[in-house]
Symmetry: C2
Subunit: 209 residues, 2 copies
């Protein structure tokens, strides 16, 4: 069995979402591709990494394929996340994920500001950051979401890693690398993203990355 490209994994959630929304019973790789913005060959190759889920001459069974991707992404195991930092971004994220019924569940929201600890954000109450380790253990948290100022980011990332999270989604405007190389850190930097766009704005460019 060969290694599966990271790039393929990252496309699976897009396929999954469309499969969940679509009304059809069967779909083809062309349909899936058009809906998600990828080529049909890409779709077929991505799915084929994990097995032969389709039927030649016909296509894919929607509900079967949905279940497969769900399982592949381990969403059936119910991953739980904690959000650290209840500022604009942190609270927006909690509310955003609250309203869409999500497969990744945000279980806790912590902050270090006494003024907002105990306040309600969506379905969660803001907990003191001191309880971080305790919460990670108690709630069996797999993902830490960092929405703290950059000064605190590296420190909090280490605490999260130490507490045992397996992955960190880092919104703080700084590169964090924990001393735990087994923890997967995914940066999402909104301001850097905008600055890169500035380059593409300045010249005629094709539509896709």
């Amino acid at each position: 069995m060969q290694r599966i490209p990271d790039a393929a994994i990252r496309r699976l959630p897009a396929y999954l979402r469309w499969l969940t929304e679509c009304e059809e019973e069967r779909v083809t790789s062309v349909m899936l591709g058009q809906a998600t913005g990828y080529s049909s060959e890409q779709v077929r190759k991505d799915l084929a990494y994990f097995g032969a889920f389709g039927t030649r001459g016909v296509g894919y069974d929607v509900s079967a394929l949905r279940d497969e991707i769900y399982r592949i992404l381990k969403l059936d195991q119910g991953v739980r996340a904690i959000v650290v930092g209840s500022g604009h971004l942190g609270t927006a994220l909690v509310r955003y994920v609250d309203q869409g019924h999500q497969d990744v569940k945000i279980m806790a929201l912590v902050d270090n500001n006494p003024a907002i600890i105990g306040t309600q954000v969506g379905s969660l109450r803001v907990e003191p950051v001191e309880r971080l380790e305790e919460l990670v253990h108690e709630l069996d948290i797999g993902i830490g979401v960092l929405t703290v100022p950059k000064e605190a980011a590296v420190l909090v990332a280490d605490r999260l890693a130490e507490a045992g999270v397996r992955a960190i989604l880092n919104f703080a405007p700084v590169a964090v690398c924990t001393r735990h190389p087994e923890v997967f850190v995914q940066p999402i930097d909104l301001t850097l993203e905008m600055q890169a766009l500035s380059y593409f704005v300045g010249q005629k460019a094709p539509n896709r990355l």
Copy 2:
């Protein structure tokens, strides 16, 4: 002159930020790499695409390199953005970018909900979405930021493209592709990102993508 990889462009903002924050007068590619999480060869290669900015045996002059990257990304031309959709994410974004003094300026925030039109969000007043085209022209907007529900995303993207924006940052949970292929669309999908993390959480994985 050879083509410059997209991937290289996307790293430049990270270099720029650290150069802006750092106190040194000179830096080496090793320092820049460690601070931003990339390898030193990567840093050197990225910079070399645009010219020979360094001095062999010495390194790079911080302020000169900063100016170069600033110019390369066309940030000196002052790119302006409009945010469409004043929900949790849209308002968080406006406030977030407001507080950090940014090179990409958010000039306007529009929504279709009469109840919030006219309310203040950070330094902006929410404008009616009807004024979208007018605002894009008047304020010479280059970037449209989509933080609307998925039902509206495709429609608004087309309006933005039609109005003349050069790039769209799409936070809506749907793939948008406008009928204007010259408009660069960059998706940022938080829930898909989390679902992909679920896969990596489930297995021991190296720290970086």
